[in-house]
Symmetry: C2
């Protein structure tokens, strides 16, 4: 059949789950599983079966009633919808602790996001090689973005340098940014930004821990209220 329809908008919540389904399906495929039911996929993904079916229905009707979904075909469809039919090179700004770890983390390239370059503003870091990628000066950013056709940038700088990094990425032509710095970036409306903030995640866990403790005040006050 002709699967190329003018696609309806897919809800954000669904888009966020598709990568999870994709990973599970890929694993299952590797293990020789040909068909999978929404129930099984839901179990593996830690979600509700109805949600799985609704999510997948946004891609089209690719399941078979009474049978389930064909793993390989579903993998293909999800990859297509997510734009994973080709690689998306990324450029990392900031060669500190995190930038180095990201560059060294093989998972990026494997999953279709090869590191096209890593840059830093500090001449002391420029030139060193991190797992095969040489750190270049941030002034070379435009050139890297253009020659390698990079559209995704990763901000792995300290908070104080993040906005400048984002500005440079945008000026260089990047249209999506993954931000690890604990800052709300100001960017043109057309630029897509996603933020990963480790401290925020830990603080959310802290909230639940504190609540678990009964909300009782068992802490030694380290901060003082400024007024009564």
């Amino acid at each position: 059949m002709a699967p190329e329809r003018a696609r309806r908008r897919i809800p954000d919540a669904t888009v966020a789950r598709l990568p999870v389904y994709l990973r599970i399906l890929t694993e299952q495929g590797d293990e020789g599983v040909d068909n999978i039911s929404s129930e099984r996929l839901a179990e593996l993904g830690g979600v509700n079966a109805a949600k799985v079916r609704k999510d997948l229905s946004y891609l089209g009707s690719y399941g078979t009633r009474g049978v389930g979904y064909e793993v390989a075909y579903l993998v293909y469809q999800i990859r297509r919808e997510l734009g994973l039919t080709h690689d998306w090179p990324v450029v990392i700004v900031g060669a500190g602790n995190l930038g180095q770890a990201l560059a060294g983390y093989g998972g990026f390239g494997e999953r279709g996001f090869p590191v096209a370059g890593i840059v830093d503003i500090d001449d002391g870091k420029v030139g060193s090689v991190l797992s095969g990628v040489r750190v270049r000066h941030i002034d070379e950013l435009p050139q890297i973005v253009q020659t390698k056709r990079v559209s995704i940038g990763v901000v792995a700088t300290p908070a104080s340098a993040a906005q400048d990094a984002a500005d440079r990425l945008v000026r260089a032509g990047v249209t999506s940014i993954l931000n690890f710095a604990p800052v709300v970036l100001a960017v043109p409306r057309a630029i897509e930004v996603r933020k990963v903030d480790l401290a925020v995640e830990l603080q959310i866990l802290s909230y639940h821990e504190q609540r678990r403790a009964g909300g009782a005040i068992h802490a030694v006050g380290t901060t003082r209220p400024a007024s009564a």
Copy 2:
């Protein structure tokens, strides 16, 4: 006044934003700002002013009409609600690329989450020192958790080892887990898990990039559909 009320449950979406407000307020406080309006706070946080007010109203009525919120007092209240009046030591499982970066990332300790220990299952890594913290064997996990009263664990292992790491953390007595491995962890219901998956974030960006490109199929097919 007596600020300790039996607190109503705070919506998840609000809990996720409180840390952002907290960071902004702390910064503003450091810059000498005493009072701040919901509008200004919203601007700095990249959200809607009404949302800020509603979020803060869950903490109680700590603003002053016609004036705004007293920064220092609000910081205190948010910290109290998030359980940040005392430190929460964390233990990191996995001393690979990511584990090392996390241990080395000063932001943790600074924000009230000191690294109580980092463990690995590989004897080759045990003993090495990462930014002041010595890597210990994973068998020592229970001891670290107990002596340092750790309730938050961080899984920074490869996907294949993540479930085992989580099991060990739970057995050792940890009640909250921050998971960086691309796996859905199976844990007892009482355990709070948050997941940070870099590949998922990139794939979400990829979706938007692909969509931006008009959804046109300009990619060279790297995957084949399994069936018509």
